[in-house]
């Protein structure tokens, strides 16, 4: 049986295809079903995650097939409310944006009482924490998965309520945490490096790698748990698409010579993460032209959420961009939203 291909977008470099056997896909959904979802018997799966990506494929196609569960695919209809009037035990396969929809239907979710939500492909949004908090005393359950196209799911945790402090992530049973690259001076923050029998094989190679280092920065809490501290690289995910801000800056500077231009990651209530562009220049620069130019980025790179003209880009004495100062000084009057 041929391996199943999942492509990273190429927005962090050349497009890369990662191959997985069907057996490994089945192993992953079985593992998550047992270890995260408690082997719950679902009468229906409603998926908002497109099946072309690993997460959507696993829980919108493989799990329904393995467990013989009817599935409703709503990845092209993110405004459509899941069926909530019949009490059928339901698994919702959520994206960051799905939580805005669920937040509008708290009474129906509470009445239903047998809904489980699975979240992945980006940070849980404020709406996710709001929903989890409001439904904490009902039968509603929500879990987050952390992983990548290269590794599959590696860790999980409950979606915390809005008044709950950050919960640690726990490794899935078949994943081991290895010493990752040190990311700060005292060694508290490390890149998450894992080994697992479910690592994907890169197209053109004979076998999967022995281990893999993710861009996520973690602080271990014992051998099998960690706190997530952020991302080591300048990587954000917008609608599930990886976006390397350094690459966007290179492309933007090439198109706009003379401009001092940086991208800043920002949280986004709908998409989880996004980025905005700040620029300063010696001469008059048409913001609309810059916006149009950045709206046609190659390789599926998402356009920035907004473009802002600023008097100058604040930098430290060593030249490092002071992102917090930059975003705090966001000039609303001159914002050019994309």
């Amino acid at each position: 049986m041929p391996d199943i291909a999942f492509a990273t977008s190429g927005s962090t470099g050349p497009p890369v295809t990662w191959l997985r056997t069907e057996d490994r896909l089945h192993a992953e959904v079985t593992l998550v079903h047992e270890a995260v979802l408690g082997s719950a018997r679902f009468g229906r799966i409603v998926s908002y995650a497109p099946p072309g990506h690993l997460y959507g494929r696993l829980y919108g196609r493989e799990l329904p097939r393995l467990a013989d569960i009817p599935v409703t695919g709503l990845w092209d209809e993110p405004l459509t409310v899941p069926p909530l009037d019949d009490g059928v035990p339901t698994l919702l396969v959520c994206l960051p944006s799905t939580w805005q929809l669920l937040a509008r239907h708290l009474p129906a979710l509470a009445r239903h009482g047998r809904v489980t939500a699975l979240h992945s492909t980006g940070p849980a949004t404020p709406a996710a924490h709001h929903v989890a908090g409001r439904l904490a005393d009902t039968g509603f359950r929500a879990h987050e998965l952390l992983g990548s196209t290269e590794t599959g799911a590696v860790a999980h945790r409950p979606v915390a309520g809005e008044h709950t402090s950050g919960l640690p992530w726990h490794l899935l049973p078949d994943v081991e945490m290895l010493p990752g690259s040190v990311a700060d001076g005292d060694g508290t923050a490390r890149r998450l490096r894992v080994s697992s029998p479910r690592l994907a094989r890169r197209a053109g190679t004979e076998a999967p790698p022995a281990d893999w280092e993710l861009p996520d920065l973690v602080a271990p809490v014992g051998p099998r748990a960690f706190h997530h501290l952020g991302r080591a690289s300048r990587l954000v995910k917008v609608n599930g698409v990886r976006c390397d801000l350094a690459r966007v800056e290179d492309l933007a500077r090439a198109r706009c010579p003379g401009l001092d231009l940086v991208c800043a990651p920002v949280s986004d209530p709908v998409r989880g993460e996004h980025y905005e562009v700040f620029y300063a220049g010696p001469g008059p620069v048409d913001p609309a032209a810059l916006r149009r130019s950045l709206g046609r980025l190659p390789s599926g790179l998402p356009a920035p959420r907004a473009v802002h003209r600023v008097p100058h880009i604040p930098r430290s004495s060593t030249g490092k961009v002071l992102t917090a100062e930059l975003t705090a000084a966001r000039p609303a009057q001159e914002a050019e939203h994309v």
Partner: protein, 101 residues
Amino acid sequence: MTSTATVPSPEEIHDRTRTVLATRIGDAFTDVPSDADLQKALGERYDSLTAMECISAVESEFGIEVDFVADDVRFWFSSVERMVRFTHERLEDTAALGLGS
């Protein structure tokens, strides 16, 4: 007799709607006519997630609630004109029922 005196005129709703949409969509929205289909005019700039943001913005601006089950949101939030009609009717209903603040 209904107490519609507190309901903004369609013209006012139109102007306020365009203002809140402009803050969400940006200057690409400026030249889009109010009767234009936003998805056709803006393409990916008015995807489903942006539509959700705009619905929330209109709700917040006018103090109304959109029911994603009962209201045909794809129809009513496909153009500015339709948003204005939807909002005006919702505000009139609210005023008539004495539910407004």
